[in-house]
């Protein structure tokens, strides 16, 4: 692939040389200066200094919420109880695959980040919760853990600093909801992955009721680099409120899908068209998800929006996990909406009624749209169902369906109506409609 003549962002931090053969072994990683920052933090800095450096860097969580990482660690109470650090490697947001590449190619970068973050938070036990599907990556981390233990970067009295840390790799077993931090904690405690009521937030009462920091893989992997560059230097990259670089997973209807490291604030068009090659020849971008399937969709005309946390929020969407899914003009929006709704219906844990029932009804209504048995009024009902879900559940899984579906209905209303008309013309008696599911209550809405 040639990149000449294109405007390629010059800042590469996490992905610099990540394809170097053998980087997953501790020898190559240390030859490149690996674990020096963990050593420096543990032997020359106080935990407060590490937190200060993270605060200065302006690093924001790379998992989805974008919360300042230094602040998150500073919320951990300074009391003498067992504290925990959990690395969220569940990465189940559709469209996201950045952590997979990071863990597979440079597992020690993550482990070093965990040592630094645990030291800053005063945590003595740490866990990596990796999704069960990533068995290859989990095997690589398992091997890296043994190497790190043998080299004395995990265990008791690390680098002679008196700081001790245990690190356990925990494999999940396939549940989207376990990427939600409190669902992840329940799953890690050996239960069903049901989200918890917040507050209390995990910083006060998390894993085993102890203060817990939960960070995404990319966030943790960035920490050694922040210490190496200095927080101030890191803050100069990107925009004022979105510092640094971000791994972006581009997928869907693009010619070169893959992970790209970009400087936050570059125009989205550059990522989609220059780096990922844009949609197939002769096609145009119809709409795109800027931050995983949970983010409200943006249109072709929004491609010039700078790719950073605040610009995307201003545009009514979000950066989320940094997963761009591009949909070109050959695809019907109803198909995407139905696919999406079915996914969230399947993954809803069932704890909160608005999400459990809302996702189910949305699927039922979209199937009617697809079969031509819906009326335009159903679109209003569907939009109102989405509104009822948002903000009414313990976690944001329901919102994660409601926001993109709501935005699709709002932005492509005419196409939804045309789809109903076309399906009805094809099939005036609704014969090929899916057999309706019996309503829970006789005579329930729309049954």
């Amino acid at each position: 692939m040639t990149t000449e003549g294109r405007n390629i962002p010059s800042h590469t931090i996490l992905f610099a040389g990540i394809d170097e053969p053998g980087l997953h072994s501790i020898d190559v990683y240390r030859r490149r200066g690996g674990y020096e920052m963990a050593r420096k933090a543990l032997t020359q800095m106080t935990p407060e200094q590490v937190v200060d450096e993270l605060l200065t860097s302006g690093l924001r969580g790379r998992g989805g919420a974008g919360f300042p990482s230094g602040k998150k660690i500073s919320f951990i109470p300074k009391v003498n109880v067992d504290k925990y650090l959990v690395c969220n490697a569940d990465e189940s947001e559709p469209g996201t695959f950045k952590d997979r590449e990071l863990m597979q190619k440079s597992p020690h970068m993550l482990i070093e980040g965990i040592v630094i973050a645990a030291y800053a938070a005063g945590a003595t036990r740490s866990f990596i919760y990796i999704r069960g599907e990533y068995s290859h990556q989990a095997d690589i981390i398992d091997a890296a853990l043994i190497e790190a233990q043998d080299a004395g970067f995990i265990g008791t009295n690390i680098c002679g600093s008196g700081f001790s840390l245990s690190l356990v790799l925990h494999r999940g077993a396939g549940a989207y909801i376990c990427g939600e931090e409190t669902g992840l904690l329940d799953s890690l405690e050996g239960k069903r992955g049901n989200p918890r009521l917040k507050p209390p937030f995990p910083a006060n009462q998390g894993l085993y009721q102890g203060p817990t920091v939960i960070n995404n893989v990319e966030t943790l992997a960035t920490m050694p680099h922040i210490l190496r560059m200095g927080g101030e230097q890191y803050a100069k990259i990107g925009t004022e409120t979105s510092a640094g670089t971000k791994l972006v997973s581009v997928s869907g209807n693009v010619q070169r899908p893959g992970n790209y490291e970009i400087e936050l604030g570059v125009p989205s068009r550059e990522i989609i068209n220059d780096l990922a090659g844009g949609p197939p020849d002769g096609r145009e971008v119809k709409f795109w998800f800027p931050g995983g399937s949970s983010s409200p969709v943006l249109l072709n005309e929004d491609l010039d929006i700078p790719y950073d946390f605040d610009s995307l929020a201003e545009a009514g969407s979000m950066l989320g996990s940094g997963a761009i899914i591009v949909v070109d003009d050959s695809v019907a929006v109803v198909d995407v909406a139905l696919k999406l709704a079915k996914f969230y219906q399947h993954e809803s844990c069932g704890k909160c009624t608005p999400c459990r029932e809302g996702t189910r009804w949305t699927v039922a209504m979209l199937e009617r749209v697809d079969a031509g048995t819906a009326t335009p009024m159903d679109l209003d009902i569907m939009a109102s169902v989405q509104e009822q879900i948002i903000g009414n559940c313990l976690c944001v899984l329901g919102d994660a369906m409601a926001m993109p579906i709501g935005s699709m209905v709002a932005k492509f209303r005419q196409e939804f109506e045309d789809h109903i008309e076309a399906a009805r013309a094809r099939n005036p008696f609704g014969d090929d409609a899916p057999s309706p599911e019996p309503p829970l209550v006789q005579g329930a809405v729309g049954a």
Partner: protein, 260 residues
Amino acid sequence: MSRRGEAEPSRATGGHPASSERGAGRSAEVTHNGGEAGHGHPHGRRGPQVQRFGHGSRVPGWDEAADLSKDPAVVPDPATTPVPAQLRAEIEAHMAKYPDTRSASIPALAAAQRHHGWCSPEAIEQAACVMRLTPGYLISVASFYDMLETHPVGRHNVYVCTNISCSLCGADELLAALSEEIGDDSETFNLRAFECLGACDIAPMASVDGVYIGPVALDEVPKLVEQVRSGLPPLPNKQLSSRKSTDPNAHVTSSEGGHS
């Protein structure tokens, strides 16, 4: 999904006398209603596709506790619950890693599943015996997670990601082609439509016993199926593990990279 309900009593019950007695009763109770996976409900979770067993339970053999004339199952007695030594050692090693041994429930169930082929009543009972939990607790966990099988399944897991990115690139066609090629060989294959597997860059993709392969062209499907059948590595030149990064700076070897 219709394959999943066709329990094999011999495999489901093993050699344990108590459970084989239950197993016989169970297979007689099985009521098959609706075998068609169609209508785009790949997980068979909705409406008439759900298989019901005795007492309305969705899970074969796990309905005993729902019999109100009986007490709920208690923590299995080690004296009457033989556990293979290897499985016991594996579960105990997992339990030792956590401050609270209950945290090991997912790894323990995964180990029991590897040993028994699926989370059969016997597998659950053995895991519960080692972990000192009730079978009911572990059933509640097993039924929550997609990768823990609560029905007998084929030996090789073939998960096809059918989420947005993959389906934009033809994942539904891939699943249909695989399904046709495999036919009714449910003893060898556990073919499932799966939610996003985190490999949208190689869409359409599949995970064959944990090995990610993609992009899989439709004309490679017969070869792939044959490779899985004969125990060979699936599509070696399409495996994710050997794929280079798409980022143009990934080949820069200095740790400073392209940073100016």
